[in-house]
């Protein structure tokens, strides 16, 4: 907690790790890049704090490592995640607060953060709609076979059949979300108008009201859920429980030719199992914006496997989403500096405890 003694605030060293935008940084609305520093520089420096921003986060000699020993506050973002391992957290003697500019804080070793009494918080809800829209887009892209079609015309070709032979409508299909938290719910609400059958797999029912609003049915048995779905969208956080959940065995329980969308976290699925399933046709297609690690190496097999609609990690960092999470981070910093609590739903690690979804 920031110590306010005699009306004077301790000056803090705040470190932010964001992706670089280079030539695109000149748009002042592009807040989430390192150059524009989440739009927080003026705010922080006017309060007398030091604000260091970098995109250099990998390896022992990176810029981030230099500042670990004395930083008080760390701001990270899932789109260019600063992997705060137990080792790094143990070196961070002054670190008290870690804020995620976005949603999903698995890039921080939460157990170690809890042990060391750190507070970890994220801007809950800041980009749930962004991600849900993006997932719906990917469902359509996979079913309607958009990628080969677009590639075709970009290369001067024209062959309707080469696309249409495995192009389907969404209407009438069974679509399921694994996880019915904020993002899963927003996805279901948007899918409703497409006249498809909606299922959700979750530990608990989301209640009658939400089921009525979405028209979705709860399936608590994963095997039954997987066997029923033409399309599956993963909407879980990455935790000890969900890491590697979609392995070869689970993929084989899906309908042959079903589509899998994962904008959640790359590590929830087994990299090679997905690649093999796309090659064999067990998966009709796989699409997502998340990988492990990020950035992925040039030879990551998901780049080159058949029937994929992959992108870099973009869904939750549209210009609109950046404005929301930048605002959310600033709000939390204001609250922190004035000794106020953060919004309840934003806490991921608080007083030695992990938030429910990470337990």
């Amino acid at each position: 907690m920031a110590v306010v003694q005699g009306g004077e605030q301790k000056t803090m060293k705040v470190v932010g790790v964001f992706y670089k935008a280079h030539e695109y940084a000149k748009d002042p609305k592009f807040l989430g890049c390192a150059e524009n520093a989440l739009g927080l520089r003026e705010f922080l420096e006017s309060k007398g704090h030091t604000y260091i921003v970098t995109d250099d986060k990998e390896g022992d000699n990176c810029e981030l490592e230099k500042h670990i020993p004395d930083m008080d506050i760390l701001i990270t973002t899932p789109f260019h995640p600063a992997y705060m391992t137990p080792e790094r957290l143990k070196k961070a003697k002054n670190l008290k607060l870690i804020l995620t500019a976005g949603v999903g804080s698995d890039h921080i070793d939460l157990h170690t953060a809890a042990e060391k009494g750190m507070t970890v918080a994220e801007v809950s809800g800041s980009n749930v709609v962004s991600v849900a829209e993006d997932e719906l887009m990917r469902i359509l892209i996979l079913l309607r076979n958009f990628v080969p079609a677009h590639t075709q015309v970009s290369e001067g070709g024209w062959n309707v059949a080469a696309v249409a032979y495995k192009a389907f409508d969404l209407q009438g299909k069974t679509v399921g979300t694994v996880g019915s938290g904020r993002i899963g719910l927003e996805l279901l609400k948007r899918l409703k108008a497409f006249d498809c059958k909606l299922l959700y797999y979750a530990r608990h029912s989301m209640g009658e009201e939400k089921e009525k609003a979405t028209g979705a049915t709860w399936e608590s048995d994963l095997d039954k859920f997987l066997a029923a779905c033409d399309v599956v969208s993963i909407n879980l956080p990455l935790s000890d429980k969900t890491r590697g959940m979609f392995n070869k065995e689970v993929l084989n329980k899906m309908k042959k030719g079903a589509m899998l969308v994962n904008n959640a976290r790359g590590a929830i699925v087994d990299v090679d199992a997905v690649k093999e399933a796309c090659e064999s046709g067990q998966l009709g297609g796989y699409s997502g914006d998340v990988w492990y690690p990020q950035p992925p190496p040039e030879d990551h097999c998901w780049r080159y496997m058949p029937n994929q609609a992959m992108t870099p990690h973009i869904s939750g960092t549209t210009i609109d989403a950046q404005a929301r999470y930048a605002h959310g981070v600033q709000e939390m910093l204001e609250q922190y500096f004035s000794g106020k609590p953060l919004p309840e739903e934003n806490y991921i690690v608080r007083e030695g405890e992990l938030a429910g979804q990470y337990q």
């Binding site: 992706y19 935008a21 695109y24 940084a25 989430g32 789109f79 962004s130 829209e133 993006d134 887009m137 359509l140 309607r144 958009f146 079609a149 677009h150 075709q152 015309v153 970009s154 001067g156 070709g157 309707v160 059949a161 080469a162 249409a164 032979y165 495995k166 192009a167 389907f168 409508d169 969404l170 209407q171 009438g172 609400k189 899918l191 108008a193 497409f194 006249d195 498809c196 066997a227 033409d230 309908k255 042959k256 030719g257 046709g281 009709g284 950035p295 040039e298 998901w302 780049r303 609609a309 992959m310 992108t311 870099p312 973009i314 960092t317 549209t318 210009i319 609109d320 989403a321 950046q322």
Partner: protein
């Protein structure tokens, strides 16, 4: 993959569609409708008392795209190899059925076979351009059926002058096209294509994608045309919590329908364009709509707005769209229709920045093909078509109607 075995990815096909549109799958209710007005109810075909002198063998010519190696899927009905899945049925009735994908140029298979065909089946995805000249040479022709929606590839005036009947499978792929339009809106607004290209080339640069990536929520979307497809797309966009969903159409939807769709009518096109972040074209190609989106009209759109056109390529001016994408007047342009299909290798829409183009696919998913194939839905309607086409009385009536018809513009 498209097998109907349980446990595999199913085609939604006919069942879902018939439920949605309230079409009974029974033979009495057909979905084959004439484009020309006055025939609001397809069942009216059978109400006409005409002498059924049209018995006897007919030559039916079908023009479809070739699927080559993909034709082995029997559910891929819409290709020339599988001939819309109606060969057995037509031949069992004693008719002659010829199919080809060779449609362009003066010595094409189409021209050879058209000379004595009674019925011509065409499809927008590989359109047989039936000009006045071609019609003049088609001595036996009496009926043209479009396997799909949109019959602008036929010179309709010339067809009417000759007393021909032109029919399409109204509503057959409206859902398919509407879904596809939502897809294009999202891929443009969220800047999907450059992201995909990047990772495929071994790269990683979040900023290079997201500097031009936005959410759809709180934006204003307008559809030019509030007909079948326009309404289907508005229905699907409702859940995206737009700031406003607008539509421009000669006719107004009922207040109830507007409430259901969450949309508002704009009486003036240019006024609507100035408000929209995204514009979707949902009109047929007619004399009034040809070149509608030219340089002047695009200039009336918000700078950076997105334009989606799964209607017909010729509704938009090819060069004007290219220049607008290059200048940034358009934030992006996406669609599956081109002014000429197949599109030439050098067509600028392939290479302009911020495009989400594809070949003409939206209305010919496997699910849509199943609904288009006449056999599936309206064996009897097709049979009706075969019976009445020779009625000269009907021919005159048709001639009279065409000039009154306006596609909502």
């Amino acid at each position: 993959m498209a097998s109907r075995k349980s446990g595999s990815l199913l085609l939604s096909g006919a069942k879902a569609l018939s439920k949605q549109h309230g079409f009974a799958a029974s033979a009495a209710n057909t979905r084959s409708t004439q484009i020309l007005p006055g025939f609001a109810s397809p069942c009216s075909f059978s109400r006409y008392s005409y002498s059924s002198s049209a018995e006897g063998q007919k030559k039916i010519l079908g023009v479809f795209f070739a699927a080559h190696e993909y034709a082995k899927n029997p559910e891929f009905l819409g290709c020339v190899e599988n001939a819309l899945g109606i060969r057995e049925w037509l031949e069992s009735k004693g008719h002659k059925y010829v199919v080809t994908s060779d449609k362009d140029g003066p010595n094409s298979e189409l021209d050879k076979e058209l000379a004595d065909a009674h019925i011509l089946i065409t499809t927008p995805f590989h359109p047989a351009y039936i000009t006045k000249e071609r019609l003049a040479k088609a001595k036996n022709l009496e009926l043209l059926v479009t396997a799909g929606v949109g019959s602008d590839h036929i010179d309709l005036r010339a067809a009417a002058d000759k007393g021909l009947t032109v029919s399409e499978v109204t509503g057959s792929n409206v859902t398919s096209v509407a879904e596809d339009e939502v897809l294009r809106v999202l891929t443009l607004v969220r800047n999907f294509a450059p992201g995909w290209k990047q990772v495929n080339e071994g790269g990683w640069n979040v900023a290079a994608v997201v500097h031009h990536a936005y959410d759809l929520i709180d934006r204003t979307v307008g559809t030019v045309g509030g007909g079948r497809i326009g309404q289907e797309v508005m229905q699907r966009l409702k859940g995206f919590k737009l700031k406003e969903m607008l539509y421009f159409d000669r006719h107004s939807l009922s207040a109830e329908r507007e409430k259901e769709l969450g949309c508002k009518r704009e009486e003036d096109l240019d006024t609507m364009l100035a408000k929209c972040d995204v514009v979707i074209v949902n009109t047929p190609l007619t004399d009034q709509t040809r070149g509608l989106f030219n340089k002047e009209r695009i200039a009336k759109m918000k700078k950076g707005a997105y334009l989606v056109n799964n209607a017909r390529g010729a509704i938009a001016d090819t060069m004007a769209v290219k220049e607008a994408c290059e200048s940034g007047q358009l934030g992006g342009y996406g669609g599956d229709v081109w002014n000429e299909q197949p599109a030439g290798k050098d067509h600028p829409w392939r290479y302009m920045p911020n495009n989400a183009m594809t070949p003409h696919i939206s209305g010919t998913t496997l699910d849509a093909q199943v609904t288009i194939s006449p056999q599936f839905f309206h064996l009897n309607a097709f049979a009706d078509c075969l019976r009445f086409f020779s009625s000269s009385v009907l021919g005159l009536l048709l001639h009279g109607w065409i000039f009154e018809f306006g596609f909502g513009f």
